[in-house]
Symmetry: C2
Subunit: 285 residues, 2 copies
């Protein structure tokens, strides 16, 4: 069963009923995705999840208070990471690989830091360090974009995730078509209460004291850091900072693209992530 | 015949007798390497050239005044690029792919800018833009490293090309073993006059007016920019600047490594370069 059509399942852990979808080939280390602000199960790009699921199990879930998962969404990245640890621990799969996008990439950092036994390798996309560079000083037009919800999400996601060029915007329209193609068993939109809590979490992360990236030195897991050239949500230079302060990180930055560069360069991204996740000892050099 | 054992050949063009080595599979676009400061034909890593030569022709050459090539080495990057254009034009292969390292990456930029018909795609390793960030303010210990020539080059290349960690230094020792393994038909060391001319070229490039990276916007060729995390020769941030100012560039920065990161991560580098050079239209996204 492909990821795009995987049925939504439920798992009870730590007082939360977690909604999740699981698909792919049970081989190697499973890959768990951590979602961005305002995203639910339907916002994971099925082109990416399906391609990566050919070589491993791919697990998508709604964190506490998101979509069909119960509970009150925490208002700190730390709290959201605790929810992710609860879900991943309850899967009983041991250490998994993590692909976190945007706020999901912030969650991924704390998950790896505070729950090292649960995390083998990290893919951090369109994200940045706590107290990162200019995250708190977003251009004035960016915040309001997250209020532009329309039926397809096109008015939000095209300017948020893609660069202004026609090439990038065309990729954005193809992306929106992919995430809206599923008609059965769609997830529940993220509630206003969860949006408010997660917005507070993102703000606290962004406005933490700057230049204290030392916590990153305590995340030894190999990491692949990915972004576009013109990320307006978490400015691209933050991916460089993550790379410079994580002990074992590789940086992949893509041309003429934004916060959702991986949605634009699906093939390139999937090939590099596959190479990174499937690397054998000795091939690492 | 593998690149490591390819015989040195000669080609006369523009008044210079160019020494070069050619190997690999005549398929697709040939790949021409541009060498770093003080390097000759023997300083190209045979592990990299042999791996890339399995899918294309690989051409290594001594530019004007280097090794066994005749002539007076120019004292500007522009002049060195003219020499490269003369050689590549004389090959009569049409547009080629270019892999330039360090000063060779500077040469590659001007070659692509001023001779666009000769260049299809660019791989720019351990290099930076003209007037780049802190290239002219190298740490005081770096310059003298280039005077530490010993028989194997170990005293020079280990601190120049690799990071201080034991892991990186071990990779450096393996690299030095590779470039010194060839015993027959070795190239002539770079002369003192050529070193002086190229040093002047590198200094002029580094001390050009800063923050004038606009020339990069006129290099439309797709580029893959690669470096290590701790380049002490052309500080790593310059790779980020190249990426940000070239219209169609991807950035790949590798962990715990220096100016010669590709010598440390041969397999990872070769896989990514192969993917970049062999990309088919439609797979680019």
């Amino acid at each position: 069963m492909s990821t795009a059509s995987a049925a939504t399942q439920f798992l009870n852990a730590g007082g939360t009923r977690f909604a999740y979808r699981r698909s792919g080939t049970p081989a190697g280390t499973p890959l768990v995705f951590l979602q961005h602000f305002m995203g639910n199960l339907d916002n994971f790009d099925p082109a990416i999840t399906a391609a990566l699921a050919t070589g491993r199990e791919v697990i998508l879930f709604d964190n506490v208070g998101v979509g069909q998962s119960t509970g009150d969404a925490p208002d700190s990245v730390d709290g959201i990471a605790t929810g992710a640890a609860t879900f991943i621990g309850a899967l009983g799969l041991g250490a998994v690989d993590i692909l976190g996008h945007s706020m999901g990439g912030e969650v991924a950092q704390l998950l790896a830091l505070d729950h090292p036994a649960l995390v083998r390798r990290l893919v951090l996309v369109g994200t940045g360090p706590r107290g990162g560079d200019a995250i708190a000083r977003q251009a004035p037009g960016v915040g309001p974009l997250f209020g532009k919800r329309d039926e397809l999400g096109q008015n939000m996601w095209l300017p948020i995730m893609f660069a202004p060029s026609e090439r990038s915007q065309a990729a954005g329209r193809a992306f929106v078509a992919r995430i809206t193609a599923r008609t059965e068993d769609r997830d529940t939109p993220v509630s206003a209460a969860t949006i408010a809590a997660h917005r507070a979490a993102a703000r606290a992360w962004a406005s933490a004291p700057a230049d204290d990236f030392s916590y990153l030195s305590r995340i030894p897991q190999p990491a692949l850091v990915v972004n576009g050239s013109d990320d307006i949500v978490i400015p691209t230079i933050n991916s460089y900072h993550l790379y410079q302060h994580l002990p074992d990180a590789e940086l992949m930055l893509l041309p003429d693209s934004g916060h959702g560069a991986h949605f634009q360069y699906v093939n390139r991204f999937v090939r590099r992530v596959t190479d990174f996740l499937d690397v054998q000892p000795g091939e690492e050099t």
